[in-house]
């Protein structure tokens, strides 16, 4: 059941990230083409930046699900089971608290920004900034879906990866 939920969540995030990435590429390409045709799109920079932020937060939840965030797992893997579990759970608590605060204050900021639009195009800031609370909640969901496996891995001395690199 949990494994199926995990997989479904992962597939959904994967398609969202692919779509956002392609949209970003298309938008920048159109921006360049229109500029060279002497008819620049005024909202090109601003929308491209918004799309980058969306790739960041939907992608960050996917990265959390795949344990791809950059870290230094060397130390906890040297601990024996009990202290390792304590350290890992403390770390998880910090992660969850951070994203809970980000979601909570993200919603409060959305309430304050209600009615504002972007500078170059009539798009509500409510839409563009929604990625912060939504992304934070998706991140929390990813951490919780991984939690059983995280706890289970503390029993062995399996090394975890240090995340992705460029």
């Amino acid at each position: 059941m949990l494994a199926r939920l995990h997989r479904a969540f992962e597939r959904a995030l994967e398609w969202i990230v692919i779509a956002l990435l392609l949209l970003l590429a298309l938008e920048v390409i159109l921006g360049v083409v229109y500029r060279y045709l002497g008819n620049p799109i005024v909202w090109y920079d601003e929308i491209a930046s918004v799309l980058l932020a969306w790739v960041t937060y939907y992608g960050a939840a996917l990265a959390a699900l795949k344990r791809a965030h950059i870290g230094v797992p060397g130390f906890v893997t040297t601990l024996s089971a009990r202290p390792r579990l304590a350290a890992v759970l403390l770390g998880e608590a910090c992660i969850l608290t951070f994203f809970a605060l980000l979601a909570w204050f993200g919603v409060r900021v959305l309430q304050m920004l209600a009615g504002d639009t972007l500078a170059t195009v009539d798009l509500p800031v409510l839409v563009t900034q929604s990625v912060i609370p939504i992304g934070a909640l998706l991140f929390i969901a990813a951490e919780l879906l991984n939690l059983p496996e995280t706890i289970h891995s503390c029993r062995g001395h399996r090394r975890t990866a240090a995340g992705v690199d460029l």
């Binding site: 920048v28 980058l52 937060y57 992660i95 605060l101 993200g106």
Partner: protein
């Protein structure tokens, strides 16, 4: 709260396996609440949002996407074929071809991890079949992949330029000569190994074969060069050049080679999205802590403290090189750039080092960091393809790392090597 306390707090969280981006965020939140009260947290979502909207960094996903599309369109084996046709008559031909193919692939890819995966998956099995040891095969492909980040385009350079607020185009130009020198020196060491171990020669040199393989690879080689030319000539910005590279890659894959491998491409796009997100979350979180550090003037105080000890720029560069080499043992390159560069920039300016020159030093240094375990992303990819042990491979790779260290010393202490072309192009 002093910068030292913040640093220790981040370190403590990282040690219990909190991802670095989130460790920065957690410490920044505590610092914000401690100094300005709960309501300061209204800034949290705002900074985390604007921190992720940096326009120049859009080049990162676009260069990743372009590389992924080109790789899914069968470009790597064409580049390997061309390099083999050129170098096949020399002893240890496959090892030299691996370095040669990396020199070509570097104009397409800005990522050493992408390079090692693309070239390694073809040449490591080939080398093993020809009797090269798996450790040597992994080492040569791993170390030559470093050329991808030194020769433009380069994703670490895009990141550095944004963090240091300097010209990415000049950085790209500065990478050309050191990249070529690095490639030739790596070939020299590979040849020395080949003679010592009596590795085989592949084939006699035939101009006809070079011509055939060149025609096959020509599109893959020429389009990136045109795009880089456009960036250097100021016709397009680096971000726009990256977008054009995506179009060029699609053109080559769909129209010219007609062999776009969709499952492979989909997987590469997912990985590219994740890489982008991981780096951008770090950028956003470091912006959060950065606002606080700027408030307490930590970078300026560090610059003043070091400048008080010495204003000898060569000594400062030696110390910074040492710092980055140590960080490279434990940290991925993107994290090291995002964490350290904004903090040391005032120091760089105080002792009169050109930020473009420093950018190249950081790029080469962290390229070495991708080779040095325990945390060595590129080496680990090569080892997993070769099914070799990381530490056994390092015993061979140490010679190639020595070459890269030599390049680092040259780049650091002979500024003319990276900077001459920059001065020729941009005065």
């Amino acid at each position: 709260m002093s910068a030292l306390v913040l640093f220790i707090a981040v370190l403590a969280l990282v040690i219990i396996n909190v991802p670095i981006a989130i460790a920065l965020g957690v410490v920044a939140v505590v610092a914000m609440v401690a100094s300005h009260g709960n309501e300061a947290l209204l800034n949290l979502p705002l900074v985390m949002y604007t921190g992720a909207t940096s326009f120049p960094l859009i080049a990162i996903p676009l260069f990743i996407l372009a590389g992924a599309i080109m790789n899914a369109s069968g470009i790597s084996h064409r580049l390997v074929a061309l390099a083999s046709a050129l170098l096949g008559f020399i002893r240890g031909a496959l090892a030299l071809a691996s370095i040669g193919a990396s020199l070509f692939f570097a104009e397409i890819s800005g990522s050493a991890v992408a390079d090692v995966a693309a070239i390694g998956s073809i040449l490591i099995p080939a080398m093993k079949r020809k009797g090269y040891s798996k450790e040597f095969a992994a080492a040569v492909v791993s170390s030559s992949a470093t050329l991808a980040v030194i020769i433009p385009p380069s994703i670490p350079m895009v990141l550095y330029a944004a963090m240091a607020d300097t010209s990415v185009v000049k950085l790209f130009v500065a990478g050309i000569v050191p990249g070529i020198i690095g490639g030739l020196l790596l070939m020299a060491v590979a040849y020395w190994f080949a003679v010592k171990n009596n590795f085989p020669v592949e084939q006699a040199f035939k101009l006809a074969r070079v011509w055939v393989t060149f025609k096959e690879a020509a599109w893959a080689l020429l389009l990136p060069l045109i795009i880089l030319g456009g960036i250097f000539g100021g016709v397009v910005t680096a971000t726009e050049g990256a977008a054009l590279a995506v179009v060029a890659a699609l053109f080559i894959g769909v129209v010219i080679y007609r062999e776009l491998d969709w499952p492979h491409l989909k997987q590469a796009m997912i990985e590219g999205g994740i890489q982008t997100a991981v780096v951008m979350l770090l950028v956003a979180a470091s912006a959060l802590l950065g606002t606080y550090l700027t408030e307490i003037q930590a970078p300026q105080k560090l610059a003043a403290a070091v400048a008080h000890l010495t204003d000898n720029r060569y000594l400062v560069l030696a110390l910074l090189n040492l710092l980055f080499l140590v960080l490279g043992l434990f940290l991925h390159s993107a994290a090291a750039i995002i964490l350290v560069v904004p903090v040391v920039m005032p120091l760089i300016q105080a002792v009169g080092i050109d930020p473009v020159h420093f950018g190249l030093i950081v790029t080469v240094n962290l390229g070495i960091g991708q080779q040095t375990p325990p945390v060595a992303s590129v080496l680990m990819t090569a080892c997993s393809i070769a099914k070799s042990d990381i530490w056994e491979t390092t015993k061979v790779n140490i010679y190639f790392i020595g070459v890269l260290l030599l390049v680092l010393i040259l780049v650091t202490y002979v500024p003319a090597i990276p900077m001459s072309l920059v001065h020729v192009f941009y005065g």
